[in-house]
Symmetry: C2
Subunit: 385 residues, 2 copies
């Protein structure tokens, strides 16, 4: 289980295709994972996801821990059974949300809560974004929660320091992340002995945009020798150039025989650039979130269905697209649904955007295997702007 087999490596770049085996099925890489924060990819049913060719979805430990609580999900047979998704699932550790929701003060409707975090070497005390209640998470607890949830891939508990932190602080946070990753590994190994279902733990590289920190972190994380490695703390406000440069620093230190997961990244442009630099797995709320705002992709770029020009437009969102939305509905009807806040509209836009991204990923895999990845990237990005 959790074997990663590289199928084809691009000759000119670090792009490669592979297959990652999990207890709930194989994942063809590079892969994009739709985000199902609260154990549902917003607006879609598991059947919709299957129809879209979704290989693996992500769920958020932070949200599920706070509500309904991991015990209820465990009692329901674990995440797969509870939410009726038969394919692989990855849960993050909660670390990212603990820190990012504390910073995004405008995130919650309950602006009265002071969402603070108190960090010590042992763990993090934080107040819930839902009701301000106090909670304490440690590497051990985050690992235990993820064992209860039962995803195929679980993540080590890390500290994702703000992008504008001092180098001194970033180094401290990185060292804590390493220390916590070691503890997660230990706890994971202990818990794994007692349970039937198998899970793979991925640790996370941190270190901001500093070459020395990222190098140190990549080496440390790689040495933990877990089934896959992740890169965190990117796509948090830095430029794309900075992000790509940082990836280039990290990749040489991560075992090429293991999948590399870049957390929280997923625009079409990003997929090309990061696949080219050796990334195998991605997740991002972008395609689903932008859909709910009425935005959609075609091969020509991003558009808003709210635009007046679509009022009487009987064409599908993207001519020739084979998704359920484009096969059955016009821009005129979709525009009406989005303007009226009709739920069907949110679902149909989500279906199109996920189809677009998953289909793009599938094409990327095909082109890597045919040896035409660079050419495909060039021709795609020329039209897409």
């Amino acid at each position: 289980m959790f074997k990663f087999k590289i199928k084809h490596s691009d000759k000119k770049t670090l792009a490669r295709t592979g297959i990652f085996k999990t207890p709930h099925g194989e994942i063809k890489t590079p892969a994009f994972m739709p985000v199902g924060t609260k154990a549902t990819v917003k607006t879609l049913s598991p059947q919709d996801l299957e129809n879209l060719g979704t290989q693996i979805i992500l769920a958020n430990t932070y949200h599920l821990f706070l509500r309904p609580g991991e015990k209820i999900i465990k009692h329901g047979g674990g995440l797969h059974k509870w939410m009726n998704w038969k394919g692989p699932i990855l849960t993050d550790s909660g670390g990212f949300q603990v820190f990012s929701l504390a910073r995004e003060k405008g995130f919650t409707k309950n602006k009265d809560f002071k969402i603070k975090v108190k960090i010590d070497e042992n763990g993090v005390e934080f107040s819930s974004f839902l009701d301000g209640s106090k909670h304490y998470l440690t590497p051990e607890k985050a690992t235990k929660i993820q064992h209860d949830l039962g995803a195929d891939i679980i993540m080590a508990f890390d500290e994702c320091a703000p992008a504008n932190s001092s180098k001194k602080y970033l180094k401290e946070a990185m060292e804590r992340t390493h220390n916590w990753a070691t503890r997660c590994k230990k706890e994971h190994e202990k818990l794994s002995k007692k349970q039937k279902h198998k899970q793979a733990l991925f640790p996370i590289v941190q270190g901001g945009l500093y070459k020395d920190l990222r190098t140190e972190s990549a080496k440390f994380i790689n040495d933990l020798d877990l089934p896959g490695n992740a890169i965190g703390g990117l796509s948090v406000g830095e430029s794309r150039k900075e992000m790509l440069k940082t990836i280039e620093i990290i990749i040489p230190h991560l075992d090429p025989k293991k999948p590399r997961y870049l957390m929280g990244v997923g625009t079409p442009e990003d997929l090309f650039e990061c696949v080219e630099r050796g990334i195998d797995m991605f997740d991002c709320v972008h395609p689903t979130r932008m859909a709910r705002h009425g935005a959609f992709w075609t091969e020509k770029g991003r558009f808003s269905i709210k635009n007046n020009k679509f009022k009487k437009d009987n064409k599908p969102l993207q001519p020739k697209c084979r998704c359920e939305t484009c096969r059955n509905y016009s821009r005129s009807y979709l525009r009406h649904l989005i303007f009226e806040n009709e739920i069907l509209g949110l679902r149909l836009m989500t279906i199109h955007n996920l189809h677009f991204l998953l289909n793009l990923m599938s094409q990327i895999r095909q082109h890597i295997e045919k040896g035409t990845f660079t050419k495909f990237k060039k021709s795609f990005l020329k039209k897409f702007h």
Copy 2:
């Protein structure tokens, strides 16, 4: 086209089964029509509706006239093509909303608009519940809009006077309704000559709760000799007893060879009582609206999924139910989705409630044909409370 064939008449009651032919398929009666106010049955796709065995849906002329406007829908090929629903559609005339939205001042978020209606013999001036803009509807215009929308069954423009109106006013409103129905028929016949698609016009009986007015109205409406007849102005605040008494007054005056449609009615109890009194068609927002509030039906009555007792309940909403929701999801998961305002939850609850009501209607038809309708009604209502 629009032939109504009675298949079986119950021996003890006025219940009967029949088949009503429309250009988009046959409707087995008695039939329940889910409401798709803005050309979408809230939360569901046409595929969902088909999976549920939906025979016919309803759409609201008032809402579609105001936004996006009937011309956009006509340009999109008419309602069926535009919303991708291949089965029969019925549109109301807009009359009910013109009056009811004027009364429900709390309905709109824009409480600043004074939603008034000015009625004269020619038609109604009203302000939009959306933006306060002024509009004028006449029987001719309501008919023309419905021709542009292109539903299989269209309704005459009527005045639905408030339940607490004086008898004098109810009589005036009824006479206007008769006058308008005559004009709708004339306009409908004129417009029908010019168009390819066939539509059936149903006129509406009014007259409040007064026996003499309802008798007079039923006779007048019946004499228009259109393919079906409807009963309006009920289920607007009166008791069930009053409603049923009024139906009993009307039914003897409506041609038994034509379908009888009771507008806006649709709880399980109502279906039994009204089928028993000779009603063939129903529509109601109740099953879909209550679903979005987390309420659901089982054979034992109505429940709320928000109840604490369902927190760790891994059973389906209704054990043995064959709907998509009950086959795949637990009360525990559905409760989580509803609490989190997740769209999938709204859709899954809607699927169950519509399945419950459509399946009940199907069972009612079967029992009428087996001659066991009264027995079935008794046993169902004994459990359901």
